[in-house]
Amino acid sequence: MTKRLRVHVDPDKCQGHARCKALAPELFELDEYGNAHEAGDGTVPSGLEDKAWLAKSNCPEIAIDVIEE
């Protein structure tokens, strides 16, 4: 069985490039300044695992963690 994934944005590292929001809009939200945080508690719904990894691998600030639970 596939492991459940959770995404987390480190707010101290995020600089608002917004790549995660463009690549995985279901998993991330932006605040009024355009800085990102995970949607809800960061749980990645089944089927969106690829998008989680894609967002992580395109973050220029290395601010995104994908945690396997």
């Binding site: 490039h17 917004a18 463009a22 932006l30 009024e32 300044y33 355009g34 691998s57 220029p60």
Partner: protein, 407 residues
């Protein structure tokens, strides 16, 4: 631009590793082999030109410097022949600001440039692109820089600022004076800054009695954390930044993208057939042809990637060279139009990430979508010459194309 004198040329470079010069014609024409040579020599190289200047050549060294505002100040952000005394702390905040004043100045500018705000601006940009294409689609050869790429960002930012889009030529002239001629000629730079101040002061004055729904009024109405309005010099500095940073940067990025597609039929045909791939392609074109090189001033001695770096020197912070580092990007020297993993640094890294990155991305995407939709067939005109801008922002300034049947 005949009233602007051309500054004297620098002596030619014979030893790139110890005497690099980013204004040399060879660098302007084709910088990529030079960067590879510098990177092979050292992660940080130095030149005595520009009163002393380092250049990090690897992605890691660029990231290290971009994230270190303790040793590297943003008070000077263009590498120039001269280093005049800094007289204003409001040169162009927040790009010229260091912590702790940087963050509040940056936060002020961010809300009008979020992806959601850009979605609202997108129809206007699409209309601008189509108006421009309407003007030349019946022709079979043209300069795409002069007729298309040059006009899109300047009109979009004028629209946001609430100043007439018809003043575009004036803005383009100031930018040329500051970013290109200003590297070697202080008087030209000061003249442009003075003209911009007069221009924007009039627009600020007009809005004191009659506020408008635009970025100028937004800045005039902004309050700091103590509830005080910004000083006029801060508003003027930020307006100067938005105009300078918002124009020839994206003009260059759109131009380099079209230049690549004109000479790479396979990529062009793929994007025509799969317009959904354009956002991914935009990222790769940003990586491969990043237009913007920034600068820092070393204010405290330190070590970068094992190389000692001494105060009093400038740093040429080449995000474009970082984006060609093969240690970071497989096939770094190739344009891989569907590259999936792309942590490129075209908009900078760290606290000075480009405020306008969402605007630039939207403009690039729309400009390519509309061009490819209406002009799927185009190529470089062998009878013409492509020319590139010099210095801080690199992009094609003449882009002779053949369209459709003329190919």
């Amino acid at each position: 631009m005949s009233d602007i004198s051309q500054p004297a040329a620098h002596p030619p470079v014979t030893d790139w590793v110890h005497d690099f010069d980013h204004t040399d014609p060879q660098w302007t024409e084709d910088p990529f082999p030079i960067w590879d040579e510098l990177r092979a020599a050292s992660p940080v190289v130095h030149t005595e030109r520009f009163l002393g200047c380092y250049m990090p050549t690897t992605y890691d060294a660029v990231r290290e410097i971009a994230n270190d505002s303790e040793h590297f100040s943003s008070r000077r952000i263009i590498v120039r022949d001269v280093r005049p005394e800094i007289t204003s702390r409001n040169a162009a905040p927040p790009i010229t600001s260091d912590p702790p004043v940087h963050k509040p100045a940056k936060q002020l500018l961010l809300p009008p440039f979020t992806p959601d705000a850009m979605k609202k601006l997108e129809p206007r940009v699409r209309a601008i692109c189509n108006e421009l294409i309407d003007g030349f689609i019946a022709e079979d050869r043209l300069d795409a820089a002069e007729r298309y790429t040059k006009h899109i960002p300047v009109r979009a930012i004028a629209h946001m600022l609430g100043i007439p889009e018809t003043d575009s030529d004036l803005f383009i002239r100031w930018i040329h004076m500051i970013l290109e001629l200003g590297i070697k000629d202080e008087n030209t730079l000061l003249q442009a800054v003075q003209e911009m101040t007069v221009y924007f002061s009039a627009h600020i004055e007009a809005r004191k009695n009659k506020p408008t729904d635009d970025l100028i009024s937004y800045l005039m109405n902004a309050r700091d954390k103590d509830g005080n309005p910004l000083e006029d010099s801060h508003v003027l500095g930020s307006l100067r930044l938005l105009l300078i940073a918002g124009i020839d940067t994206t003009w260059s990025a759109i131009g380099s993208s079209l230049w690549h597609l004109a000479r790479t039929p396979a990529d062009r045909e793929r994007l025509v057939a799969e317009p959904g791939l354009i956002p991914t392609a935009v990222e790769e074109l940003l990586r491969a042809y990043s237009p913007v090189t920034m600068a820092r001033e070393v204010v405290k001695e330190t070590t970068i990637s094992g190389c000692p770096v001494k105060a009093g020197n400038m740093v040429l912070l080449s995000f474009p060279a970082a984006n060609r580092d093969p240690k970071m990007f497989p096939d770094a020297d190739k344009v891989v139009i569907d590259r999936r993993e792309n942590r490129h640094a075209a908009f900078g890294l760290g606290i000075h990430r480009c405020v306008g990155s969402n605007l630039a991305r939207m403009e690039m995407q729309v400009a390519l979508e509309e061009w490819l939709r209406r002009i799927p067939d185009f190529a470089l005109d062998p009878a013409g010459a492509v020319t590139w801008s010099q210095g801080t922002v690199r992009g094609p300034r003449q882009l002779p194309f053949l369209l459709g049947k003329a190919m």
